[in-house]
């Protein structure tokens, strides 16, 4: 077992952050911890990295307490803030962490070059990292985690603030880690990221794991059979549309209406007719598969995005 957390509890100033969290990673692969900001993901990651102590429960990294330096040599933790020396360049930052892992200098330099090249930072590697973009800093943070090639990676929101291209780069790297036999615990609030990358997803809300399993299984179990996605060119008034949708589980996102339905062939014609009668100008209607967003909505009654805003 690479990581095993049992009944973890943690609070800050009396405010619970973790409430009986159970999580395990048995083998290589990518495990996502999906939840909105404030769900307790980072607290869990810090406990797994040996930085915080749980108040109750136990956590073991490959059978060891994560506060044991031996256990910490088996993990690479990449926090949300990449933890860089802004005045130093990328090489110096990588070599700093390489020395903390006691990696041989020459091997570390070679590995650093490969990582910088793979992540597209090599051309900027001589600049002070304080002058790099947020996305590049995040990538460098990830490169640092990958230097030591540990069996387990703890990555806390590694793609937050990145442009879509950089996110794709990171996803590619994570898949490579998995292919090389590494295990990744990925804390994210991006539903698509968890959906795209994960072998297993733990959905977390308000300090609890509310569901876990393979993404497809979760969608099968908690998601609706189908989702109707309607794009509007013009919406008459949201309140009148809401009247038409009464009794149907639905969300609005970026001008799109997503409606969970049991039997789309029955619901869609009626719904489209109603919307037209209200004066809506519909651009497209698609029947799509449910996503983890729908699972989160089902389990918590809130959308991930809305939860973050809160």
């Amino acid at each position: 077992m690479l990581l095993e957390a049992r009944d973890l509890w943690k609070s800050f100033g009396g405010r619970p952050a973790l409430r009986g969290v159970e999580l395990s990673i048995k083998d290589k692969g990518i495990v996502s911890l999906l939840g909105p900001n404030g769900a307790g993901k980072s607290t869990f990651m810090k406990i797994a990295a040996g930085i915080l102590r749980p108040e109750r429960g136990s956590i073991l990294v490959m059978g060891r307490d994560p506060r044991d330096p031996e256990a910490r040599s088996l993990i690479a933790y990449c926090p949300q803030e990449p933890g860089l020396f802004d005045e130093l360049n990328s090489w110096d930052n990588l070599m700093f962490y390489a020395r903390l892992y006691s990696l041989p200098e020459q091997k570390a330099r070679e590995k650093a070059r490969i990582l910088l090249e793979e992540l597209g930072i090599l051309d900027h590697a001589s600049k002070p990292v304080g002058k790099l973009s947020g996305g590049m800093r995040k990538k460098l943070g990830l490169a640092i985690a990958m230097l030591a090639e540990p069996p387990l990676y703890l990555l806390d929101e590694p793609t937050t603030g990145m442009d879509p291209g950089s996110r794709r780069d990171v996803w590619r790297i994570l898949r490579e880690i998995k292919a090389d036999g590494g295990a990744v615990l990925l804390a994210t609030h991006y539903m698509d990221e968890a959906d795209e990358l994960s072998d297993t997803v733990y959905i977390m809300d308000k300090g609890r794991i509310v569901a876990s399993g393979k993404p497809e299984k979760l969608k099968e179990r908690y998601g609706p059979p189908s989702v109707v996605e309607i794009m509007f060119r013009r919406v008459p008034s949201q309140s009148s549309v809401e009247d038409a949708l009464r009794g149907l589980e639905h969300t609005w996102s970026e001008g799109k209406l997503r409606v969970s339905v049991e039997r789309p062939e029955k619901v869609v014609p009626r719904l489209v007719e109603q919307l037209y009668s209200l004066g809506a100008d519909i651009g497209s209607v698609r029947i799509v598969k449910p996503t983890l967003e729908d699972v989160f909505l089902k389990l918590t009654g809130r959308r991930l995005e809305t939860s973050e805003e809160k």
Binding site: K46, A49, I51, R72, P82, L84, M95, Y97, L100
Partner: protein, 426 residues
């Protein structure tokens, strides 16, 4: 504790420190500015030479005596002390003009030679009027001392000449003169000795014996160069210790560092070594800048006492960084810690015998200097490289400094542990 981890902190912290312009200003530029100001403002190249008084003279004497007002002016113009002219003379026609210049501070003193000065000097007692000026009570005191000393010496010389002249008018002993039992001398010799005694009842042998370190400019500069090193060590050492953890936390590195196999002890050792290296490099630069302005800082690695200087530099560094760790207990941000460290460091530099000699301080501050351990080590360094004392003379200071360093280090480590626990529960 692994060497590679300590090296990681040592290299990264030192490089990062020297890439920050603000830090470089405080550890390199500011001490060099202090050294240059010492060399060219506080202790200018003229320092170490005797002073020359600006003396105004109004001469009303037109007598034809062998020694008159003009003769006095000539003597005053030529008198020297250690090769330097003692007076720079400006002759005034009107008394009011000279007094006006004294009021304006353009003169240090003024003499009015009255009419008949030469005649009275030859025949009896000559009158002189002297004004003493100055820009402070200290300079008035010095000016008065110099002028009085000159005039007394001059009067004595005149007296002796007059005694010699008077001797020519003595032809023989009176009939009732008896030979005094104390002297085996003739009547003429007796009278001569008696008259000399009237002119100069006490002949004092005055020997100048001041410490050379305080009288020669290169050594004074050497003293201040070490003061600049001490000042830099104080505020930089405090700052390095005070910001060691809070900066790592603020920059988001602390958690990541402590999630690696490195331990708080590695971080402490790395930070301490990096701090000592920064202080050492800065000290070398300051001392080199001091040598460039001809400060005398003597160090001979073959002289056993001089090796203690290295020890005291180390102790001074460990003491100030440890005191910085203690300051970190009350600092929650890097900016706050830095400000507190620099403010306190500068304050203590000026009050605890680091920059100004403690002998200049009022009683309470002298006491502070006496109980402030970094001053002990700096005193030992100054004793060795400026006063050239031997091991025996600094042995006690060395033992005291060692003990103080150990205590401060242990307190600093405890403070460091508490600060780490504030942020990380590892």
């Amino acid at each position: 504790m692994r060497r590679s981890r300590i090296k990681a902190f040592l290299v990264a912290s030192t490089k990062s420190f020297f890439k920050d312009k603000g830090s470089v200003f405080w550890v390199i530029a500011w001490p060099i500015i202090l050294v240059l100001m010492s060399a060219y403002v506080f202790i200018p190249p003229s320092a170490g030479s005797p002073m020359t008084m600006k003396l105004g003279i109004v001469n009303h004497d037109a007598s034809r005596s062998p020694f008159n007002g003009s003769s006095l002016i000539s003597v005053l113009s030529n008198v020297k002390y250690n090769g330097t002219r003692l007076f720079e003379i400006k002759v005034y026609k009107a008394e009011e003009d000279m007094l006006a210049d004294l009021d304006k501070g353009k003169l240090d003193a003024g003499i009015i030679i009255p009419s008949g000065f030469g005649r009275n000097l030859t025949l009896g007692t000559a009158l002189l009027k002297a004004y003493v000026g100055g820009k402070s009570i200290y300079s008035i005191q010095v000016n008065r001392g110099i002028l009085e000393s000159f005039l007394c010496g001059f009067a004595r010389e005149i007296g002796l000449r007059k005694a010699n002249i008077a001797l020519n008018y003595i032809s023989g002993a009176p009939s009732n003169w008896t030979h005094p039992s104390q002297f085996n001398a003739t009547f003429k010799e007796f009278v001569y000795r008696f008259m000399v005694g009237l002119v100069e009842p006490i002949n004092t042998t005055l020997v100048e014996k001041a410490p050379k370190a305080l009288t020669e400019r290169p050594r004074i500069l050497g003293w201040y160069v070490l003061g600049a090193v001490g000042m830099m060590m104080l505020y930089s050492g405090f700052s390095l210790g005070a910001t060691a953890i809070v900066e790592e936390k603020e920059k988001g590195r602390l958690e990541r560092i402590l999630s690696t196999p490195s331990t708080p002890a590695d971080l402490l050792a790395g930070k301490m070594l990096s701090g000592l290296l920064i202080l050492l490099l800065s000290s070398i630069v300051i001392i080199l800048s001091g040598l460039a302005v001809q400060a005398e800082v003597r160090w001979n690695p073959l002289r056993p006492a001089d090796l203690l200087v290295l020890l005291h530099f180390l102790l001074l560094g460990v003491m100030t960084i440890s005191m910085g760790f203690l300051l970190s207990l009350v600092s929650k941000t890097t900016k706050g810690a830095g400000n507190l460290a620099v403010g306190l460091g500068l304050l203590l530099s000026f009050t605890a015998g680091i920059w100004f000699p403690k002998e200049w301080m009022p009683g309470a501050l002298r006491m502070l200097a006496d109980v402030f351990p970094p001053t002990w080590s700096l005193d030992a360094i100054r004793d060795i490289v400026v006063y050239r004392v031997g091991i025996g003379d600094v042995a006690l200071l060395t033992v005291e400094s060692l003990a103080a360093t150990l205590i401060l280090f242990l307190l600093g480590v405890e403070a460091y542990r508490r600060v780490i626990r504030r942020y990380v529960e590892a």
